[in-house]
């Protein structure tokens, strides 16, 4: 019986229980003391998110300043439990207006109790879709002052919806203006060796959608991915268009996407949920366009001085620009004094993370910027030279650029009333873990 949870606790950083719910009797009520004593108050905290104490397993996660702990005594399904926590937090956030922290829990405990009752029964996850739950669990509650006459129509409706076949969309939605927003958000991960070789590089992307569409629309999305294009060419029996095609290593879809149709026709077709959702996620390892090249040179001049020179080149289109570029260059702990020269942006020494932080607000394409820094170190006795420096890390976002080269070819909306829709497509590439060893 792969139960997901026997009990769930929400603790603050001190270990006080903010709220808890025991779903089954197989774990004791004071298990949280064990968690506090043997995980929170030891160095073990953070060493492993799954720990066994006594006969119980603790699966925990920290979200802002709250620990969410799931306790089980059976051989539970770990991935299910973690996913449950993630989804539950997303649900709470959508109820609390986007924040989830200690204060939000304290202010909404009645609501959380209600939700905890609905989303899990006897340790089995039930319905976690905010879309549906919001129909019958509202912050105000369903008011029916003197009797439970069917004056409260949405309720029976909602309970039907809870388990309906198209669980993610309500019928009878009407919008004055039908709009679809589509964002392709990519994060590019890089691990470059000190010699400038790319050790590992991949892109994880997601397509986020925001739909404000009336009725029950059918959407179809076309991308410039290789398989989709080939299949299309094959179906229309004409040669595939030349141009860049993208090979997606792996794709996962929101539950609304008709996977059978994706497998047979390679098109992404779906009836979207109302509002915001994540349509698909993908991963690409081949043919990644790195937006930035980083060329560091670090010289150690004797025991107390270092010369750091970092050159950053932007290799995306000249008309585009990157925003919020941050380059973090690690320096030794015993750094005493630093001085900088930069061609653009500002640099400073941040002692709390032992790094030089160089920030460039706007970085146009096809340009380069350099930072030269001189670092003076406190000479310490017996301290050996740092054999390995932590890597240089970079943060940035480049709008209208995709590291994978993925593009939306079309987005078709079809609804029986035949209204017109306005489609908005945006692209953005962010740095995931962009590390350059030096």
């Amino acid at each position: 019986m792969p139960v997901a949870a026997s009990a769930i606790y929400f603790l603050n950083l001190r270990g006080d229980v903010l709220i808890n719910r025991l779903y089954r009797d197989d774990v004791g009520g004071n298990m949280v003391d064990a968690f506090r004593m043997h995980i929170m108050q030891t160095k073990e905290l953070g060493t492993c998110p799954v720990r066994q104490i006594g006969g119980c397993s603790f699966l925990y996660m920290r979200i802002s300043n709250v620990y969410i702990v799931i306790v089980v005594s059976s051989n539970a399904n770990v991935s299910c439990a973690f996913k449950f926590v993630v989804e539950a937090v997303a649900l709470f956030k959508s109820y609390f207006g986007g924040t989830f922290d200690e204060d939000a829990i304290r202010n909404n405990f009645v609501l959380i109790y209600e939700l905890l009752d609905e989303i899990m029964d006897f340790g089995y996850p039930q319905n976690l879709s905010p879309e549906i739950l919001k129909l019958y669990i509202t912050q105000e509650g369903v008011r029916s002052p003197f009797s439970s006459k069917p004056s409260d129509k949405p309720v029976p409706n909602a309970t039907l919806q809870v388990t309906g076949a198209v669980g993610w969309r309500r019928e009878g939605l009407v919008y004055k203006k039908n709009e679809v927003f589509l964002d392709i958000v990519e994060s590019v991960n890089l691990l470059m060796s000190s010699k400038g070789n790319v050790l590992r590089c991949d892109v994880t992307g997601k397509i986020l959608m925001k739909c404000f569409l009336s009725g029950m629309p059918d959407l179809k999305l076309g991308l410039n991915d290789k398989i989709g294009l080939e299949k299309e060419a094959q179906l229309k029996s004409r040669p595939a268009k030349s141009g860049k095609t993208i090979e997606l290593d792996d794709v996962t879809f929101h539950q609304c996407v008709n996977l059978t149709r994706f497998n047979s026709e390679k098109t992404v077709s779906f009836v979207p949920p109302d509002g915001e959702f994540e349509l698909m996620k993908y991963r690409i390892t081949e043919g990644v366009n790195l937006p930035f090249r980083v060329l560091p040179t670090i010289k150690e001049l004797g025991r107390t001085r270092m010369e750091i020179n970092v050159k950053v080149k932007s290799v995306f289109g000249a008309k585009m620009f990157a925003l919020g570029v941050v380059v973090k260059v690690p320096v030794p702990k015993q750094t005493a004094k630093t001085s900088f020269q930069t061609t653009s942006g500002k640099a400073k020494y941040n002692a709390s993370i032992d790094s030089l932080v160089w920030k460039i607000r706007k970085f146009p394409g096809q340009t380069e910027a350099t930072m030269s820094a001189e670092v003076e170190l406190i000479s310490t006795m017996g301290e050996k030279k740092l054999a390995n420096r932590p890597p240089i890390q970079m943060e940035f976002q480049v709008p209208m650029f995709t590291a994978s080269g993925l593009r939306v070819r079309f987005l078709k909306v079809w609804e029986k009333s035949g209204y017109n829709t306005v489609e908005w497509v945006r692209y953005i590439t962010r740095a995931g873990s962009y590390e350059i060893r030096c």
Binding site: V50, G55, S57, D117, L191, T204, L259, E278
Partner: protein, 847 residues
Amino acid sequence: MAPTAPSPAKSASPSQPSGKSEVSDLKQQLRQLAGSRAPDADDQRRDVFKRVISCMTAGIDVSAAFGEMVLCSATSDVVLKKMCYLYVGVHARAHPDLALLTINFLQRDCRDQDPTIRGLALRSLCSLRVPNLVEYLVAPLTTGLKDPSAYVRMVASVGAAKLYHISTTTCLDADLPAALKALMLSDSDAQVVANCLHSLLEIWTLEAANSEAAAREIETLYSKPVVFYLLNRIKEFSEWAQCHVLELASKFLPSDNNEIFDIMNLLEDRLQHANGAVVLATIKVFLHLTMSMTDVHQQVYERIKAPLLTLVGAGSPEQSYSVLCHLHLLVMRAPMLFSSDYKSFYCQFSDPSYVKKLKLEMLTAIANESNTYEIVTELCEYAGNVDVPIARESIRAVGKIALQQYDVNAIVDRLLQFLEMDKDYVTAETLVLVKDLLRKYPQWSHDCIAVVGNISSQNIQEPKGKAALIWMLGEYSQDMHDAPYILESLVDNWDEEQSPEVRLHLLTAVMKCFFKRPPETQKALGATLAAGLADTHQDVHDRALFYYRLLQHDPAVAERVVNPPKQAVSVFADTQSSEIKDRIFDEFNSLSVVYQKPSYMFTDKEHRGTFEYSEDLTNLTVGVEAPETVISAQRYQENDNDLLLSTSDKEDNVTRASNGSSTSTYNAPPDLTGPSSLLSSQTPTETALINPGGPTYSAQTNFSLDDLLGLGVPDTPAPPSPPALTLNSKPVLDPGTFQKKWGQLALSLSQECSLSPQGAASLMNPQSLIRHMQSNYIQCIASGGQPPNYKFFFYGQKDGATAFYLVECIVNTASAKAQLKIKADDGTTAQSFSTLFQSALSKFGLS
């Protein structure tokens, strides 16, 4: 008015001293509001209820207000009702008599017009968990299962399982399982079906232990009609319910290959699901279905690689960790299939260390001829990592790869470079590895020794590293110019050396060095033996004494014992037994994979020890120790350096054992200052030091290693006439009990016996011997190992008695020897069981 029974456990939280007065204040307010018909009464009630719940959350005992809460519950406000249900659910168990008061309004709400209220009331009713109220539960549950609203049926179907846990008989007598089954197979709503499935599985699994009917019911759940029915509806289910249906499907036994392919085609698209739990569950189905078809199984691995790697990169670190654990399991099962994906397992600087650790293990496992260079280069990067445990792990990983590979040349160079990094822990770890490498590949000694010789022993603080250096100094003293002098300086600091391990190594190293370079070492040897004999540590003392006597007896013999020609170590001691690995694989997508042990090891009560968590926290140490009772098959987690069974270590053990058996009769030698003079005479004389009653070595001038091993047997006389022992033909012992017994029982016998040469030759895999022993009524519980070393755990049971015999049997097919360790419930018959066991073993391969 309901009497508010004073609660015995009225303990307001110390941090909330006002708790008590606040509760009485709340009580007062509730009482005023109870009968109020004012238009804003519900709002006021809400406020008060909220305060009650907030007190409850803060840990204040608000059970005193139970009666008032129930009085106020007569409302049509849903929010109020929910708060009231919550309150009642928390406190009913502690106050069963008061809970009775709530039954009335809950039952009434179960008949409400509004399905939400019906559902909520039913859920609360089932959550009261008060045994004497179960009679009130059956009727609402039965009607609930037939309710027109899916929401109520959904609640009722889980409610049935709750009832089962409160009162098994009530649930079965009401025939709820049958109703659930009917509902599962017919309901139009997927969530109802899923909940019925949960409940049925739970009820029948628990019931199966004492009823055959229940076991049959379980089988029907896993049968084709049910599984196919559920799989065909898979897309209707919520992502969570899909996990459970897939879990069920993974246990389905298909009757032919077509069924397998049907299922796989149907589920193919599930691998693209955004929910990682669904993907993992699907993978489990695929892997388990194709177990019997090797090539398809391999294709499955290829197919699931991409989704798994995506899942690792997506989601929170905790989610990736759970996926990585599963990936780790698969990588360990089929490393070569992942050898081209090695870059996916490179560590990011920002990875948490638990993720890094798993990645390092995977990198080690998938290293082969084609990728070793890249992997080792990457691992070397981590050796300077700021995270010291990870740096250590990565050095060990390099060493492990070196021990796996044939082409170690490049790796040896890397290891030697580590020594130049001049970091304490790096040097220590590297030395241990170089030592192990040399034991496996003595041909590299020349390169290594040149570098190792330059390391100053003063710079090494860690005992393991120091011991490794000393071992090399002793072993290669003929190649290292100043070995005797380094050893001498180490002996000079004998008293400052904290670790007995280092002192033991020092003793042996000086002995070895002495035989290679006698004139230079003689002085050091005398000092070492003197220091060793004066040592407070038992083993050090005993070994010094042993060496001393050995030298006194005959230096030539001593040389043969201490410095025999070394045999390269070719075999690793067994890691986790394949049976345990298979069990973990069976439990794919669960905690077992994360803990890397089968579920019985951490869920069964007996494995956790007797202690119950909820009762006493101070007992925790008992629970923490519980894993210690786990049999040695699990020791694989220990430091890998300990996994190398070297000939020299074996000798050390033996020498210690044989020495130990005689020390008791000896007195400490009166004069220790002149062992060198004694030795220089080169004429062994039987001095008074040698007790004539002790084992006389001279009688066995040409004793071999095997004879020596035989000395390890305690010379307790065998029982005069062992009664004929017959074994139970079908003993039953589950692994859990085995382990427990193994941990509890003392060693009855430890012997070595030999196999027939044919037997040794035919022992190509553990199964052959297991079958043979089974025909002799000796059962195997775990086995493992690689040729030529196998390890088995057997057990037998005396016919007509409850007493078990447990055997650990290590077979070396190269020497056709088996080492037995027997533990018995009834120690007196252990000898006769051993005879029986050995005769069975010796017949192996002859039939």
